[in-house]
């Protein structure tokens, strides 16, 4: 069994109006050094696969077909073996 942590990021070429809006809040806080705020998604779950390779295969399919949309997002993940 593996614990999986997925980070999904909007591609750099795609505008992130949410990040821009949040950054305006930072400016209102007086945090004028904050730049390039981008908002993504963090997802965690477990996968009950026989080994790491099988787990990666399943996680890749989950990420590419459902959790992210490859037209606008990239994903990365980490696996941690748990008992």
């Amino acid at each position: 069994m593996f614990k999986v942590k997925v980070i999904i990021k909007r591609r750099p070429s795609i505008l992130d109006p949410q990040g821009k809006a949040v950054e305006k809040g930072a400016a209102h806080l007086g945090l004028t050094n904050i730049k390039n705020t981008r908002i993504g998604r963090f997802i965690e779950f477990t996968v009950d696969s026989a080994d790491r390779k099988a787990a990666e295969k399943e996680v890749n399919e989950y990420c590419s077909k459902l959790l992210s949309n490859p037209i606008m997002e990239d994903y990365e993940f980490s696996l941690e073996e748990i008992k």
């Binding site: 795609i14 505008l15 109006p17 949410q18 809006a21 459902l66 959790l67 949309n69 037209i71 606008m72």
Partner: protein
């Protein structure tokens, strides 16, 4: 023959009854609801994916509905040339399912936009538009938070080359400018068809402006076009 429209109902659909009303009560076409867990399209001539917030719009709009059992039947139907129309959330589902190219981003304003917009018809040579009077602008309401259409340069040039851009947001005088674009959509795109011309998605809601008692029946031009193409 009377054309039959199948209206797919997802958990969270909320324009399914509006579509039914417009098709059945206003136009007297055959219409039937299709539950998303079924796979039988019940001999429909046209499949409507209605607006709403399928699966709460969690993850991305349309992303989960795209894996509902009925979508495989809809994809098979479309591949055989069947007519499919997605409105608003239905358009987003068509994009997620790969039946139309591109994605929807959040509106550039980050706000939910609900208002009448004007649409220009960019291609009259389709089953969805060929009975719309020439040069008529359609006034149809939008109601969405994620209608900011995006696709890469190559896809956009293909869409243009194949005349797949069906509707654009325009001013009341027909100009596709920034002020008339409610969501930041690239090239003011409001609606698309696939290359074959049998699958169409649009963000505005034609089913909400078909009844004359509401003072606007522009939406019905689209449904009448589809029906006449089936009858003929």
């Amino acid at each position: 023959m009377n054309p039959k429209f199948g209206i797919v109902v997802f958990p969270g659909s909320n324009c399914d009854h509006d579509a039914y009303y417009a098709l059945k009560k206003i136009n007297n076409y055959d219409a039937e609801f299709l539950w998303h867990k079924d796979t039988d399209l019940k001999n429909s001539d046209v499949i409507i994916l209605p607006g709403g917030f399928s699966y709460g719009d969690y993850l991305r709009t349309g992303a989960i509905a795209r894996f509902s059992p009925i979508i495989n039947s809809v994809i098979g139907f479309a591949e055989k040339g069947g007519i499919v129309m997605g409105v608003c959330n239905g358009f987003q589902i068509l994009l997620e399912a790969g039946l139309l190219p591109g994605v929807m981003l959040n509106n550039i304003s980050l706000k939910f936009v609900c208002k009448d917009v004007f649409l220009s018809v960019e291609n009259y040579d389709t089953i969805f538009t060929n009975h719309i009077p020439s040069k008529k602008l359609l006034k149809i309401p939008v109601a969405h938070g994620e209608g900011n259409y995006f696709a890469d340069e190559q896809t956009l040039s293909e869409l243009e080359r194949n005349k797949q851009i069906l509707f654009r947001y325009v001013s009341s005088s027909g100009i596709a400018d920034e002020a008339s674009n409610p969501n930041g959509s690239v090239m003011n795109i409001a609606g698309l068809i696939n290359k074959r011309g049998n699958v169409m998605g649009l963000m505005p809601h034609p089913e909400r402006c078909c009844d004359s008692v509401l003072g606007n029946t522009d939406g019905n031009f689209i449904f009448k076009s589809i029906a006449r193409n089936i009858i003929n």
